[in-house]
Structure formats: structure tokens, C-alpha cells
Amino acid sequence: MLALVAAHLVVAGLLPLVSARSTRAAFGVAAVLPAATLLWALANAGPALAGGLDETTAWSPALGLELSFRLDALGLAMIVLVSGIGAVILAYCIGYFGSASPAATRSAALLLAFAGAMLGLVLADDLLTLYVFWELTSIASFLLVGQGGEKREERRAAVQALLVTVFGGLTMLLGFVLLGEAAGTYRISEILADPPRGGLVTAALPLILLGAFTKSAQLPFHPWLPAAMVAPTPVSAYLHAASMVKAGVYLVARLSPAFADLAVWTVPVLVAGVGTMLVGGWRALSATDLKRLLAFGTVSQLGFLMVLFGAGGRVAAMAGIAMLLAHGMFKATLFLTVGAVDHATGTRDVRELSGVGRAMPGLAVAGALAAASMAGLPPLIGFVGKEAAFEAFLHGTVENWAVAGGLLLGSVLTVAYSARFLWGAFARKPGRDATPVHGLGPALTVPIWLCAAAGPVLGIATPIVDAEAASYAAALPGDPGYHLALWHGFGLPLLFSAIAVACGLALHVARARLTALADRSPLDAQRAYEKAIAGIGRVAVGITGRLQVGSSPAYLATILVTFVLLPGVATVLAGAWPTSVPLYHDVIQVPLAIVVVIAALAVTRARRRFTAVLLVGVIGYGVGGLFIVDGAPDLALAQFLVETLSLVAFVFVLRRLPAHFTETRPSRRIRVPKALLGAVAGFAVAVFALVLSAARTEPATTSAELARLAPEAGATNVISAILVDFRALDTVGEIGVLFVAAAGVASLVLATRHDRRRRGAPVESGQSTPRHEEDVLG
């Protein structure tokens, strides 16, 4: 399984080589791998349904990290969507993208990479592996929605999708860590086998749900999904209808068997799910753009799926699997149909399209099949799912009946917007001439028919779906005798279905009044998102303005005060004063110390920068001398060299600074606090040095040990042995820091540079010019 996922990513990386020759060939090559994955999954369906197929690859055994994958009933259902629909949509892309389209090269590679990430997500049997693939799909979605980033609309939609889903992803990671720690394992199959309980789990589940809700566009995070419809239609069909947005639903479905008995899990899922189903359906009724209509429909259906999987009953879960498959199929068909209509007429606005159904009857039939499945008409798979869904909730408690009522209302809206879609796309509108249509090639129509045929085929082949759903739902409580079927006899579910269809069609007939009503909404989640983002920006500006005042003394004072307060208090409270403090242990230390002290005092009196720098140099050399006296030639050598270099650097910089520190002598009110703070900080350093030197409680045996080992490391110089052998990793880290610091200094100083050695070339300025980059790079 790891090999399959990796193959997707590798081929995606190589795909631009194919696109350079022919973009059509690139999509063709890309479609092969998902198709092969689907065949692989179907070939392994037997063991997958029987119990699951495991595969574990050790990644870093020392850290206990491994890549574990597992194929089971739920994974199989998702692979049918991810790889099956993926292959069909990639084939559709061959006809959709023009051969000269600049977006095609990027889209082919990204779509395949996304297919790989999504495959990894549904196969992952480890919470952290799942998280990695989860975020990879978010990034793929960002890149595919943003396209070239040329249009403002694309950029905004892409950023919104990324912000919302990654925000949820991060909270979900927090939840995963809490859950993993509570369970003592990150393996999903082990967590499901022995679900943990306790306070940690109660805290973890809402965080995980937040991730699922943002990814699956649940209330109130849903606006990113309609906004993402700026992406090319195949992308919308694949990511934002069939597969990626199902990731949240998938996560809920994956974890529900373990946690569906907890109110902290089911209540948010049911409330958000029913709410989303209603709001999405309601908003779909007023959309005029066909893609937007379908997007709100997707939002609504995702809410429906959430309810089915989150409820935690056997029948509901079986209905969930049926609806999951049904929704993937019919929504992909509908999106691809919109793409074809858009291709043929140049518009997808409900108010402009007219009479398309007569011009393209084949397309209209395919669209009608899919819309009927969406509306829940027999004998399509959508009907099977909806029947089971009603059956699941038409029992027992008041809450169940309330959910059933919500689902009925949602289904009414679903029928209404299904009718609206068909009417909008294909009907002949009074008072409008037929939209001119040009013909479509088989590359566009064949994939649509492949998806559309899945509705009736799966409907008739319900026993296969039933086996799949039963395998997933086996662990859940509920009526063990229930089976998915086209005909259950007359009963409440059938009545509910009939009511939904009748009321939905009635709503469609009254569409003119309804659209006007649906347009008016007191609450707007999109506006809330925009306000939240603007608010974060304002807070950031406020905080930055307070902290970054741009005054060097203020920064220095902050550092010094923190330094005195935090380690200072700790030293006073916990430090031990040394018992005996010798004044000196070598006579030569005395004159050196006197020189250092005099220079230090003189620095405070210096009014010229140059004098101050020289005096600081004197202090540095004096300290170097003290090192020599104490028998540390290595340290002294480094000290002298660094001191010299910093002196040179100072002098370089001083050329650009005024000679004096200040034009006029500052007033007493400024000088006294500064002097006080400086004195206190200096005093604190001295105290630290004294106290810390007395803090050694063990005899200094380690240095003897090092001295003994140094020759073994091939060095008689213990300092060198430490630097390049015992603590070599530290050295590598430190030179890494130096590397970063050098790059930082160069960019800061050269950031304002513009002209440069190329003779006679025009001067360009600004930080993003090639000239500036050349400067920074040397």
C-alpha cells in the first residue's frame, strides 16, 4: 500500500516531463495509476471485507515510528471514490483542458499528487500518518483552487480554503495527540479495538471533530466550499465533491464505532450535520451559478453523511456507506455535466441557459439520472441510502424523531434543488431564445456516462453495497437483520421518501417566491469569516505596534529587566553563596583586572562611538589575557580573534554613524534610570558568576575522563576532541546557526542596495528586483 501511495507521488513529480510533450497524454498517464489502484482494491475486496488487510513498514524503529496502512470495508468504499472517480475525472480532463492551456500542466501533476495523498489518508492506520496525508490534501486543494494566482478571486478562495482547513487540521492534530496519549497507541485499529475513556478523551474528541467539520465544510465553516468553486470544474468535481471534502466524513466514520456512545461525540455531529444539511439545501435554492448550486448541495449532503456516520447505529452506518458511494457518483456526474454544459455554451448561469436539454439530449439524460439519484428516486442507489437513513431514525427516542424530521426537511430541500438544477441546466425557459450549443467530443461525454450509469447499476446491485456496508457496520449496535434493499415494503420510510419528493417538487413549482426569500438571510457565515480574519489582522497590528517600538534602549531595557528578574530571583532563592572567594590566584591577574575595570568605567563616560568601541576592545583583550593566565590558550586564541574581527566590523559600521552618541547631553531624568538599570544588570552578572561557580556539587571528574579519552579520539587537545568528536553534533548545529546569521546580515545590509557592478546597466531598486537578489546571493 505504501508502494501505491509513493508511486502516485513519484509519477506526479515526473508528470511535467510528459506534459511538456502533450498535456492530453499527461492526463492519460495520470489516469492509469488511480485505475490500477481501484483494480487492486477490488481484487483485495474479499480479505478487506472479511477483516482487513494490514501492512506496516518500520520507518524509524528507534523512535517507534512506523507507517501502517490498513484496507477494510470503509477504506474500500473511499477508494472507489478516490481512485475510481479519480481515474474517470482525469480521463475527462483530457477533453476538458485545451492542449495549450497553461493550467493543464500544473493541474495534471497536482491532481495525481492529490490522489496519492487522499489514498494515503484513507489507508492510513496511524493517527499521525493520517494527519500528514490530511494536510497534504489541504495543500493540494490550495494549489488547485489558487491556480496561477492571477485572479484576486482565485487567491482569496484558495487562502480561505487553506486557512479554514488547516486551522481545523491543527486542532485535530492536538486532538490526535491527546487521544494517542490516552490510548497509549496511535494505531487506529488498536484504538478502535479498545477505545480509551476519560478526561483526556473528552478533551480530544471536540478538537478532532473541529478538524472533521472544517474539512467537510460543516456549519459554520462551510463558506470555503462554495468559494472554492472558482477552480476548474474537474478539480471541483474531484476535490470538492467526490473525495477531499469527504475526508472529514471519513474521519467521523472511522472513529464512530469507538466513540458513538459518548455525548461529546454524537451531539455536535448530529447538531452540525442536520444544521448543515438544512442551510446548504436552503442556500442551494437561490444559487444562480450551476456550480455554486451544486456546491451548496454538496455542503448539504456532507451534513447528511455526518449525521449518518456520527449517530453510531448499525442501520445508520449502512445508510452512510450507501449514501457515501451514491453521493460520490451522482455529484461527480453533475459536476462533469456542468463542465460539459459550460464547455458547450460558454456559460453556467441559470438565467442565461435555455433549451440545452433539447440540443444535447444525451447529456440531459445523464444529468437527470444523477439528479434523480440525488433526490432519492427508485431504483437508484440514492433511494436505497435514503430509505435506510429514514429507517435508522424512525424509532425510539424523541431525539431520533427530531433527527428524522430534520432529515425529512433536508430531503425536501434536496429534491427541490435537484429539480432546480435540471430546470436550470436543461429546461427551455419562457421568453428566452435557446442558448447556442456546439458539439462535444466523446472525451467529455464518455466519463459522464460512466459515472451516471453507476447510479442505477449500484441500485440494482444493492446486495454488493449491502455486503460492503454490513462489513463496516458489524461493530455497531442495532438491528442485525437489516439489509440494504430497493424494496422494504410499505412503511414509514417509504412514506417519508414520498413526502420528500412531493414537497420538494411543490417547492420547485413555487421557486420564484422561494428564491426571493432564500436570498435574504440575516446571518452570513462568509461575512463572519471575513470579519474574523480582519480582526486577527488588527490584533496583530496592535500587538506588533506595542512590542516593536523601534527604540534600541527600550529593547535593551526589556532584555536586561527580564534577565535581572528571572534568573536573578532564582539565584537569590536557590543559589548557595561560595564559602571562600579568593581575590586572585596569580599576581598577573591583578593588573589585567585593573585594566579591564578602568576600561569598563571609561566606556560609561565615553561620548564618542569610536572611543567606546576601542575601550570595549580593550576589555575583550584583557579578558583574553585572563584566559591565558588561567591556562586556556584555545579560549584565549578564539577570544583575541573574535575581538579583533568585531572591532573591524564596528569600525566598518561606525563610518556611517554620527561620531557622538547624542547631539546634546540627555537630561538627568533619562540618564539616571539608564545608569541604574545598567549597574543593577552588571551587578547581577557578577553575582551569577560567583554563585554559579560555587554551584558545582560533584567533583570535576568529567574533565579527567575527557582528558583520558581525548587521545582515543585522535586528539591530544581535549578542546578539539570535544568540538569535533564528543560533541560534534553541537558543532554542526552551531555552524548551521552561523550560516543563518550570515545570510541574515547580508540580506539586512544589502536589502536596500540597487546599483551594482554591471557596467552601465540601468539602476533598478526595490527588494524583489533580480538585481537585489543577485546582490544578496553575492
Binding site: 580573534l641 579520539a713 585522535g714 586528539a715 578539539s720 569535533v724 558543532t731 555552524i735 546580515v745 545590509v749
Partner: protein, 171 residues
């Protein structure tokens, strides 16, 4: 074109100070002459420090600083026009690469990262030579430090000088 074996030793680049210096007023002949003699000497000394680090004071850090100071001296004597051919970021990157490769090389033979071993060679004329593989780590540090100092000269030295020239200030 020069004929082979006639002017083969003619310097192709301004390895040492060339004739053109910055403004005549600021030319200090004494410093220039001293630098001519000192610069290669200091560089050789820095290599000595690099190699002797295992047995006495020295090592890659100190050696790199010494070499860097040689370039500083040259810059002070000759000005920014006496540029070094190699670009500082390249040198820094090269140093980091050498250090990282040294760190990772032992994994090829199954040893842990950063493991070291003795290298012993019997060279003709020189005799028995012994050193550690960790000397390559030191070489990486050395290159990186030289690069950092050159970068400093480029940004703070030449960069600021150009700023002043642009602003019309006297140097």
C-alpha cells in the same frame, strides 16, 4: 596570445594587490607592502592552525578566523576593489556541505552519524602521517568561517562604502 613556457607564470588575476587602488589620498604604501608579505603567510599559518588543532591550540574555528582576518587586512590595505573571486555565500554553503557530508559519511559503512576513525598514511619523503576523519569536519568549519568573514566584508565593508558613495559622502 602568450607562447607556452614563456610567460606561463604570469599572474592571470589580481591575486595580490594590483596597481589600482582606491583614492590616491588614502593610499598607505607601508600597509600595502606589509600586506603583500603578510597575506600569504597568514593564510599558510591558518592552514597550520587548522591541522594542528588536534594536538594544540587551533582548530577550524580559530583557523578560519585567522584566514578571515588576512582578508580583512587585504581589504583595509587595498579597498573593496580587491575582490575575492569566490562568492562568500558559495564558500559558506561549501563549508556547510563539507561538514554535513563528513557527518553523514560514516552511515555509508554502517557506523553512527559523526563517527570518526584514524587515518594513517605512509607518504614518500614525508613519512608516516596520521590524522582523524574529523579533520574534514574542521575543514568544513574553516571554509564556513572564512565565508562568513568575507560576507561581513562584502556587506558591512563594501556595502556600506557603496552606500556612502551613493549618498555623496567622502570616504
Amino acid at each position: 596570445m602568450t607562447k607556452p613556457f614563456e610567460e606561463w607564470d604570469r599572474p592571470r588575476q589580481a591575486w595580490m594587490l594590483s596597481g589600482d587602488c582606491r583614492g590616491v589620498r588614502q593610499r598607505t604604501l607601508l600597509l600595502e607592502m606589509t600586506t603583500r608579505a603578510l597575506f600569504p603567510t597568514v593564510l599558510v599559518f591558518s592552514v597550520y592552525l587548522l591541522l594542528v588543532g588536534h594536538y594544540g591550540p587551533g582548530g577550524g574555528f580559530a583557523a578560519g578566523l585567522v584566514a578571515g582576518l588576512a582578508f580583512v587586512l587585504r581589504y583595509i590595505a587595498g579597498g573593496s576593489d580587491v575582490a575575492v573571486r569566490v562568492r562568500p555565500p558559495v564558500l559558506i554553503g561549501l563549508g556547510l556541505t563539507v561538514a554535513l557530508l563528513t557527518a553523514l559519511a560514516p552511515t555509508l559503512v554502517g557506523a553512527p552519524v559523526l563517527a570518526t576513525t584514524k587515518l594513517a598514511l605512509d607518504l614518500p619523503l614525508v613519512g608516516h602521517v596520521e590524522t582523524q576523519t574529523s579533520v574534514f569536519l574542521d575543514v568544513g568549519v574553516y571554509l564556513l568561517i572564512v565565508g562568513v568573514v568575507l560576507d561581513l566584508l562584502r556587506s558591512l565593508g563594501a556595502g556600506i562604502e557603496r552606500d556612502m558613495r551613493d549618498a555623496g559622502e567622502p570616504r
